[in-house]
Each structure stands twice: as C-alpha cells, then as structure tokens.
Symmetry: C2
Subunit: 717 residues, 2 copies
C-alpha cells in the first residue's frame, strides 16, 4: 500500500487505517537547516504524522522574475520535502499567494504591492484598503501569481504521495477574505468587479439573480436603467429592507468571486500536475460558511478546515479557552462535518505571534482536548516550532518565536510535553477517529446565519444575525449547562429529512430561506419534532414575503410584547427570566395547545401543535441569553414536551460541560472545566437499558478536560 492519506465525511484514513491527521506547522525557511532533522524527529515522537509549511512567494521571488529555489538553505524546499519523506511525515504545502504568517506584505513580494498599486483591493469609496490587500481577481495580480504558481507547483507536483513524495495536501492562498474583511470590508475594486460594464462580473451576477432590471429596481427601490449601472449599498448602515437586499446580494456575489479565485488557483495547480487533494483554511470558527461557494465550486478533491485560536494578542479579551470558545469550536467542527469534511483545525494554537499574553501549556492542553471532545478529526499546530526570519520577510522582527514548543534556538518548552501527551493519546485512542458525538437533540444550522452580520445587523425586527446570537447564547449554552448534548443538523440539506429520530431546535428569524422553510415543513410531515424559537419567519432569504412555514401552521402569526417586566411561566419551571425579546401568539394553528403564558397579559407565548404521524411544532416566543437556572428548567420542560428522552449524560454541575463520543463499541466521556478555578461534578451516563451508570464524582482543576473511558458497551441513544 502506498503511503497515503484519504478521508471521508467522518475521518481520515491514513495508510488504510482510520486515524487522526496530526500535523505541525514547520517553516523550512525559518528553522535553521541543521536543526530540521532533529525537530522533525521530535515532532514524530510527539505523535505527529504530517507537517505543514508556507512556501513564501516573497522569499522565493525576491525581485520580479527572479524566482529561486535551492540557492540558499532557506529556499531549499526540495531538500526539506525529501527529509520529510525520509522521516515518514506527510506534508501540507501552502504556496500562497497569501501567507500572512507575520510576514511583510502578508507573504506577497514587496515589489508586487509597491510597483502595482492598481491591483490593490478597494473599499466602497474606491480607496485602496492597505498596502498588502490585493483584489484577488485583478488580471494583473492573477498574471503575476500565475508566474509564481508556474514555478512552485511543478516542484510540488513531483513530491505528491502518488509519486512517492510526502505532499498529501496543497493549500491555495490563506484564510481567504480575511485580508479584505479585516482591513475595510469586502473588495469593491471597480475593474475586478466590473462595475459599469455589461460583461462585468457584478452586472452578470445580478443578471443571473434578477430576470430584468425592473425586478432589480423593485427589489432595491432604485431606478437603474441597466445592470451595468448598479452599485452596491453601504453595509455599515442598511436603512431599510431594500438596502439589506443589496448588501446581501453583494456579499453573495463577493463570496462567488472568492470561489472563482479559488477555482482559478486550483486549476493552475492541477495543470501543473498536482494530483493530491487541495485544502483551505477558514480564518475562524465563524467564517466557515463564507466558503460555501468555494466548496461547491471545487468538488470532491477539496477539503475545507478552520482555524481555532483563543488568544493572539492583548486585544483579545480572554487569555484562555472559555466556554464561548468551546461552543464556537463545536459549531465550527459541526459545520465542517455538514459540508462533508472530517472536521479539521488547520491552525490549532501552538503559541502566539505575540510574546504576551502568555500561551500556557495547561491552556493549550485544554484547548486541544476541547476541540477533540467536540469532534476534531484532524489538526495542524500553528506553529510547532519557531525560527528566524530570513532577511527582508519578517513583518515584526528577526525572530519568529511564536511561544512555540521548540524555540528558535532549539530549546524545548513545556508546550512540547502537552503536544506529545496529546499526540500519544490520539495514537492510543485511534478508535476515537471513528467515534461520533452522542447528542440528545439537534440544533439546526443554517449557513445563512453566520453570513448575515452585515446585511441583517441593526434594528429591523429579529434578523438572522440576531438568530445566530440566540443560537449561541440562548439555545446552545443553556443546553450545555443543562447537561443536554446538542447535536446539529444541516438545514441546507435534505439529509435533514432522515433525522426525525430526535427533536430539532431552530433559532428562527424574520427571514428564512424558502428552501429551508419547505424542508422544515417536510421534516414535520415526516414525523419530525420541531422547536421554533423565537419568531415565525415571514420573509425568504431575499427579504421577499414568504410564509411557507406560517401557511403550514394555518396562518399562525405572532406579535412582539413590549412590557418591560413580563412574567413568563413555562411549565413547572416557574417564572422565567426574560432577557431578550418576547412574542405572543396572535393566531394559533387549530388544535394547538398553549404551553406558556405571560401572566400579566394572559397572552400565550408558546404553543404546541401535534400532527398525525408523530410530528409536532413547538413555538416558543422567547429569546434569551442564558443567565438564570430557571432557564435550564424551562429547557427541560420544552424537551419533555417534545418527547425527548432523558439526556445521555447527567452532570450535576452546570459549569462543567460534557461530550460523550462513541464508535458503537467503545465510548469516552469528556468533562470540561473551562474556568480558572477548580470545579467538581458528579457524572452519570445512560446505559443501554436506559438506567444511568454512576461514574462518580470528579474533581477538575482549572482548565482541565478529563477523559473518562466508558466500559459498558452499547450505550443507549
């Protein structure tokens, strides 16, 4: 069998066996050459099976046209690849164009940015954003980047695993859209986007979206004569629904241009003979959905992962992993799974570019185990080892220390022991690669929610950005504190219809895609039990009237209550603290039962309608941020109403979150203390007979994630 990595929707398959991808970022151009071998060995000893490296354009093409490989140790890529092969390590090669990586010009050649200002990305006002933010599809940028790819890709093609080399994956670019979003927003370069030209990208996008200019004008409230005249609206201040449509359209268009850029780079790689799978890293847990168009464009030889940092400098408010970090990781890993990928963290912190705040060994250990608990199947420590910047490329000094496991001078830091312990843990528990998380119900994930912060921000009713916040701070955190394990379901896929075994929680907003509304109706018709909170959608994804769900619910409607001090009672939970919006039913479906009221007004704020075949819809007109224990009891009551069995895990401390993973034969319980103080918890798991097995009381130190193997086979689901 050739040395190779394959993957499927659940896990990696390494040399034919299910296992974890354990990669470490290792920059051949920063690590002194005489240290390569020893450090690679150290990484292998720490359980690593892969290394990743940027291949900096700025370093290899110091002057335009002068592309160099192998003339100096820091440019000797092939010797490095050979050494990795000899050590049995796979390689993820990341040839840019962008690298970021604390390099000058984010890894682009200085001559490119300085001599060709016309290719810089532009803000809405037409001004360049920053000196190193380029317009991805600018013809001149593409021409220069192609010349770079024409040199670097054939080298990589010679070293792929199919040819006996170590290169298992090649990454195009880096954290796409970040270089725009962080420095001004989306790119509005008039030439790239084709403003004013009938054959421009933006006009052509609009022509595909609208049948004619009248339809566009009706949607936008404008009076453009032709598509070429249309200009995007300012995302910082949507004034009305028309502006929101324009902003959303531009965003969809922009993400489409990013996909076109990705497809272009990928095609150059293929043309050069690179035959391994391609990868890309989403910049953070919240941005995976930005890449939906790219994923669709690239097909099944492409794998998207995400970067999961918890602190990179003093502008981050928390210094250590927190429950909110863990939840973001969980939702990020689940969204990658929905896209069909083994959830991979392509940048898992190995340190930080800043020397302060400190990245500590025990925080890293907590971070790694938390990501594992919530479904990580592949990882790349960024960075495994630091080094020294070759002349002219360092954006912040000569030393690239990164608080890494192995310091530039070869000193071994305490982080290394953590990496090693974690790597060996993964080797000893390889079965976890096939394990899945056991959930009690499912949270619906709608890819539109994390994409909506620009067009749906603001005060227009309850928008999808509000729903995204509610999903985090309300539904998910309350569930985790209540010792329920929320699984997830992809609302964008008909696979949803196969998931009627467990209740589905949907954080809804005024606007919800027509296809999603339709799918939810079918879900219920097929016996699915649906919690819809806090509103009933009345518009589709384009902010056009759309009442598919409301019509199914026989014209059900709601109205917002404005009493500052409502008195809401939900079942035996007693009075529930309301720290968000509250809605009352104006019209209920026939036969629906009121299950919660606002006591002062007597208004119904939740009802349940049950259908033949077992399906039901429970609408709960309450948006909340988790703050009070009564909210846990409210959630338990709602789950009972939905016929949800008791949770798979019982943890008696709401501050300790758990995750139970099983491959069908074995199981492991992760108990997480994501606080800076010691905690204690009594833990039980539900056995195959439905009775709980007592796992005893557990003391958890600050930031400790405990793993508890479960002996009993066949856990109840």
């Amino acid at each position: 069998m050739p040395h190779a990595i394959e993957w499927n929707a659940q896990h990696y398959v390494i040399d034919g066996k299910p296992g974890f991808l354990v990669s470490g970022e290792f920059h051949y151009f920063r690590v002194p050459r005489h240290d390569w071998e020893e450090r690679l060995s150290r990484f292998r000893e720490a359980g690593g099976n892969c290394v990743a490296t940027y291949i900096p354009w700025i370093l290899h093409e110091p002057a335009e046209g002068d592309i160099r490989f192998g003339d100096a140790p820091e440019r000797d890529l092939e010797s490095f690849l050979a050494l990795c092969r000899d050590q049995g390590l796979f390689v993820i090669a990341r040839p840019g164009p962008y690298q970021y990586s604390e390099m000058k010009y984010c890894g682009l050649p200085g001559w490119l940015c300085e001599s060709y200002p016309e290719l810089l990305a532009r803000d809405l006002g037409g001004r360049p954003m920053v000196q190193d933010s380029v317009s991805y599809l600018h013809p001149l940028f593409l021409a220069k980047a192609k010349r770079w790819y024409d040199e670097v890709c054939p080298i990589l093609a010679r070293w792929t695993t199919s040819r006996g080399g170590p290169v298992a994956f090649v990454q195009f670019d880096n954290e796409l859209t970040g270089i725009h979003e962080w420095f001004g927003g989306w790119d509005y370069h008039p030439n790239t986007m084709g403003f004013g030209r009938e054959d421009g990208r933006y006009p052509r996008f609009l022509m595909r979206r609208y049948p004619d200019i009248r339809a566009l004008n009706a949607a936008y409230g404008t009076d453009y004569a032709r598509f070429a005249d249309v200009r995007p609206a300012d995302p910082s201040s949507p004034r009305n629904v028309c502006d929101r449509r324009r902003i959303k359209d531009y965003q969809d268009f922009y993400f489409g241009t990013v996909a076109e850029y990705a497809r272009t780079l990928a095609s150059w790689m293929r043309d050069a003979g690179i035959d391994c799978d391609l990868v890309h890293n989403s910049a953070n847990p919240g941005s995976n959905a930005y890449h939906a168009e790219t994923v669709a464009a690239l097909g099944n030889r492409f794998l998207l992962g995400s970067d999961h940092y918890y602190n990179l400098d003093l502008d981050w408010n928390a210094n250590n992993p927190t429950p909110k970090y863990a939840l973001n990781a969980l939702l990020s890993l689940e969204s990658l799974r929905h896209m069909g990928f083994p959830p991979t963290v392509f940048e898992l912190p190995g340190g930080s570019a800043a020397d302060w705040p400190p990245i500590t060994a025990s925080d890293l250990k907590c971070c790694y185990r938390t990501n594992l608990a919530f479904g990580m199947k592949g990882l790349n420590y960024y960075v495994f080892t630091g080094g020294y910047n070759p002349d002219g490329i360092g954006g912040d000094g000569e030393i690239y220390d990164y608080q890494a496991s192995i310091a530039p001078d070869n000193a071994v830091r305490p982080h290394y022991a953590v990496l090693k312990e974690f790597g060996l843990f993964l080797q000893e528990n390889e079965w976890l690669a096939k394990a899945e998380r056991i959930g009690d119900f499912r949270l619906g994930l709608d890819r539109e929610l994390p994409r909506s912060k620009y067009y749906a921000a603001g005060d227009s009713g309850f928008g999808s950005a509000d729903a995204w916040t509610f999903l985090h701070k309300g539904l998910a955190i309350t569930s985790l504190c209540a010792s329920y394990s929320p699984g997830t379901a992809d609302l964008s896929s008909d696979g949803l219809l196969r998931l009627t075994d467990q209740p589905l929680f949907v954080a809804s907003s005024d606007n919800m895609a027509a296809s999603v509304q339709r799918r939810l109706v079918r879900f219920v018709e097929q016996g699915g039990r649906l919690l819809l909170a806090p509103v009933l959608p009345v518009m589709d994804e384009h902010y056009q009237p759309c009442r598919i769900l409301a019509d199914f619910l026989e014209g059900a409607s709601i109205e917002r209550l404005t009493d500052a001090y409502p008195d809401v009672r939900v079942g035996p939970a007693g009075r529930v603290h309301v720290n968000g919006g509250l809605w009352a039913a104006s019209k209920m479906p026939s036969g629906a039962a009121a299950i919660a009221r606002e006591e002062t007004s007597g208004r119904t704020v939740a009802w349940k309608k049950t259908y033949e075949g077992g399906g039901c819809v429970l609408w709960l007109g309450l948006q909340w941020k988790f703050a009070k224990l009564a909210q846990l009891r409210m959630l338990e009551h709602v789950l009972q109403e939905l016929g949800c069995p008791p949770p798979a895990v019982r943890c008696d401390n709401p501050n300790v979150w758990t995750s139970l993973r099983s491959d069908g034969d074995r199981a492991m319980l992760f108990a997480m203390n994501l606080f800076s103080s010691p905690l204690e918890a009594g833990l039980r798991v539900r056995g195959s007979d439905g009775a709980y097995v007592d796992l005893g009381r557990h003391a958890l130190g600050p930031m400790e994630v405990k793993t508890i193997p479960i002996r009993e086979r066949g856990l109840s689901r």
Copy 2:
C-alpha cells in the same frame, strides 16, 4: 470616643485608628427578618465592620403618596438599623432615587415611570430612552423625589453616628449617568436642558463658555443667531473639529447637570438633618472622571468610590479577573486617590446577578487581593448575602441569589471562607491601611482622557481617546511586564510640581489642556524628567491651536511616518516591533540628542533635550500595544535615559505582576498570577543599600495572588 468613621486622602480612620472599611451589601428587604441577626454576626465574624443597603423607593412608596416604613418586615428599616448598631456595624444607607439592583424600574416606583412619561430622559432625537431612564433635573421628577427624600432622610438623620446610630455614610442615587449612557447616551431632554430658552441650562452653560455667539459660531462653524438656538451635535459621528468641540461642550455641560442633581439631592439630605458624610459610586473603573464636576460641587464632606466587577453575565468576554482588569483597577484606585479620597470600591464583586458564568471562590480571592495590591482602602462586597424579592420589586424573578456568600436560604457558600480569610487578613495587617505603593516612575493621569471616547474617537490624528488606550496597552502594561511599578501623578493638579523626584510618563495626544501643557513646562523647568509619547500636542482642550509645550521645545514639530514596515531601533533593544503609529521629528530643540531612528529612512523617532537644573524632555514618537519582549528592553533603555534607578522589585517572569506596599516601617510584596495556569517567578526587592534582597522562587497557582511580608526595614525608594 464615639463610634465613628473618618477618612483622609490616604485611608479610613475607624474609631480613631487607621483601618480598612470592610462593608458588605445586605438588603434588609430581601433577607428574611429572622435571618438578619445571624447573617450580620457572620459578616462581623468575617472581618466586616459595616453593611450597606439600598432603601428602595419602589418598595416604600408602593402607590403615589403612600410612603410606608415599618408596616411590614421588609419595610422595617429602623429595626434593621437598630440591629446593626447593636452588632457594632456601621451602615452605608443608599436611598436612591435610583437603586438598579435588578429591581423593576431600577428601584423607582412603577407609578412614577408609567404615569409621568414626560420626565423620561430623551435621546438626541427627542425620543424617550427606556421606561426607567429619567431626566435627573426634570422639575416633576425632582418634585416626586423630594417627597421621597422628605420621608426617608429624616429617618436616616436620626441614626447617624453623631447621634449614636450606625449610619456612617449616605449615598445619593446610584452609578450616576449609567442609566443614560447604557441606554442611548447622554440625556437631551429639551425641557431639562433648556434648549430654546435664553435662561435654559444649556444656553447658560454656553454663555459661560463663550464670550458671545460669534465666538461660539467661530468654534462650531455654525451661524446661530443666539445661544438659545444652539443644539448639540451627534456624538456618534463627529465629522470635523467643529463637531468635536460641540460634542465635548455638551458632555461637559451634561456632567455639570449631573453635578447639579447630586448637589440638589445632597442639599435635601443636609436639610433633613443628615450630618454624616455623603458618598457615591462611579459605575466602573473608567468612569471616575465623569464625576469631576460632582466632586468639585460637593466639597469635603463627600467621598467618591468606584465599582469594580470583572464579570456580570455571559456578554462579558472574560470570566475571571485578568491583567486588563487589574490595570483598570489600579488606574481607578489611583484616580480616586488623586481626587483626595481613600480609594474605595463601593461594589466589589461578592457574586453576580446571573447564575452563569459562575463566580468562583478562587477568582474572588484573586480579585480582592489584586484590588488591595493596587491600593484599595475601603470596600463593599456586592452582595454579601442574597434573599427574596418582596412582591412587585424584582426585575428578574423572585429569588435574589446573586451567587452570594450566604444564599437566600442561609446556606453558606465557599465564597464566605474567602471573604472571611480576606477580612481577617486585613485585620491582621491593619498597617496596610497606611501603606502606599512604591513606584519607580509616574504615569501622568489626565482626567480628560477617560472622558474623551465620544468627542475624540475616530480618525482625526491622535486624539485623547487614542492616548488613553496607549496609556493602558502601551505604557502601563509594558511597565508592569518589565517589572517596573508605575506610580501615577495627577496632571490636573499643581501637586505635580512636587513630584520631580521620579520620571513622569505622559501619553500625549494632539489635544492637551493649556493648563496641563503649562504645568508640564513648569515641571521640567523645576528639574522634572518628562517622557512624552507619542505626539507633541498642538491644540488645547477645546481643539483650539495651543503650542505651549511645543514653544517651550523651541518650536519642535513632528510628522507621521507611513511606511508599513518601519525598522525602529531604540538603544541596545534592537529592532522594536511597531504595532501602532510612528512619528519622526521635523524640528528638534537645539541641543537635543537623537536617541532612536527609523533605520530605512534615517529619521529620528526619539530625542532627548536636557535642561539646566536636571530637567529633561524625552520625546518618543512611537505608539505601541505591548506584544514583544523587545518592547520591554526599549522601556528599560528609555528609563535609563531618564535617569531612573533600577526597579524596586525584580520579577523574572513578565507574566507575574507585582506591587510593593510599605508604610515606611513594614512592607509587603504582592505577586499576582492573573492567568488560568500555574506560573513561577523569582522575586527580589531593592534594599535600603540599593542591593537586591532575594525572596526566592515562588510557585503561583492559577489566579493566585501571593503576599510576601518583607522583613527588612527602610526599603530603598
């Protein structure tokens, strides 16, 4: 000697002896009456010498005109005061009008807010903010509040310490300005502020500030015919310097109205015979300077403190005290000291209104010791004990648990042990009340900086809001990580001129009050050594040209450098990471020596000019956020250039911050680990002979603040 508390600028004097004010919030109306005595005893046993309580208007005047005391246990204020007296506990009485305290209408009577909407505060557009935000000086609100005061104040007057009672302090209102700022901004009620009336408050304020309407128009770029016509500008989007002047004027005016409200309430208290000192609590560490006008208006029988929370609900990003929390506490305590008060934290967390995230015992212990390390001389745990809301007053449920030391049902939580340990520590180390922090140099605090976030935000050069951030993230954090202890100096006071013994660091901005510029010149003329970073001011506090400092520096001027990757070298520090603005000297004073350059351009980015008499000015044209160890070496070099001796404390771990306190005879070193992981540090202090005394290596657990008594007398300063 009568049982009494006095205070001076350094500390409290309790029954004639210097000591700490150790108060605990204890709501007689929430704690069941049969539990009062036991819980008060418990608090005394925990080292407490005082309790604080709101006296809720909403509870005592349930219907308009029906003011009740003593008719029910929860309204039996005087029995509670008698019990406190019998237990030897002082009382801080807080009769509102506002309470907040998770009460409906923030403690105002519901009838007031519901029946008199005309007295609600208004936003800039003239709309009411929220249902419980009133316009402080609205005549109708004042009339209603006066009737409440007319009943409650005479009761309190009978129980002050001068009359043998326990009431040592009475607080008017609560966290003034919060109820406006958090719900929309400053209050713009047209009647209260007097828009449109020649005799209105706002026109009269403007008449005092400008000699005539022409002068105002010149400043504002407007063409008003008369003062009565002037309207404030929108603070959310200053477009130019004229807008900034208008916003700053309105803010100063608004703070003046708050002072007028405070003076009004105080006069009613005095008229009712309350003869103890009055107090108020600033809402957070950053808002002390909002009360400058109030402090000036109320004179020397008034004491301002601040509230220092680190987490109140899941919208706070950090769950535990952090280095940034500690620094905010340090600067808050120092600013109170500058105002002439013994630094007091009137709300020091005893829990949190939210049940989650958890407030843990070890985090509380860290929080208390950190505040003590940085100068806290008085405190009030908010809250010491929870309870039950009487009918109709609870804004978020029947139970007021607050995760407090003593639960509503009398259960004793682990927090109690922390309070007790801390209380006994303060008793055992009463000398610390007189101790002061030993500093190596002083950071200049300009009260305008924390007040400037509205008018000086945005992109107009380097404003005072930028300087405030730089003071925190640049100068202060770098100093603390470099093991230097920054003292502080009040730039608004001529007391500065007596502080020429140590270097003074001033975070400067384009605008600096003329009086401050003048004072800094005199400071240098009298031998003071001044670090000015990163800019030379060119305007006064009113954004009018003002070059007092620049003129003293012989017309020195600077210009901003825009190279994206500058190469700055400061002394032997090597290349310094620049992650902020960078300025070069255009004109230097005669005889000034360049002490740092940007290497690519050769431009001078720092110079030093020394004067006869030992004074000097060191200008450093670099703004930074602390990120890299090279910045520590840069700071050390600058301190050497300024003739600063080696630091009083040497700590070899930049992640462990220290504070050394001494009363001249004894000293105590506080070593703080404000991270979630264990840390180690080697500690030394400079003895009277200048040589360092080794205190050994210390292991610090997560969130541990260690106190190390220093035996040697007469530490070197």
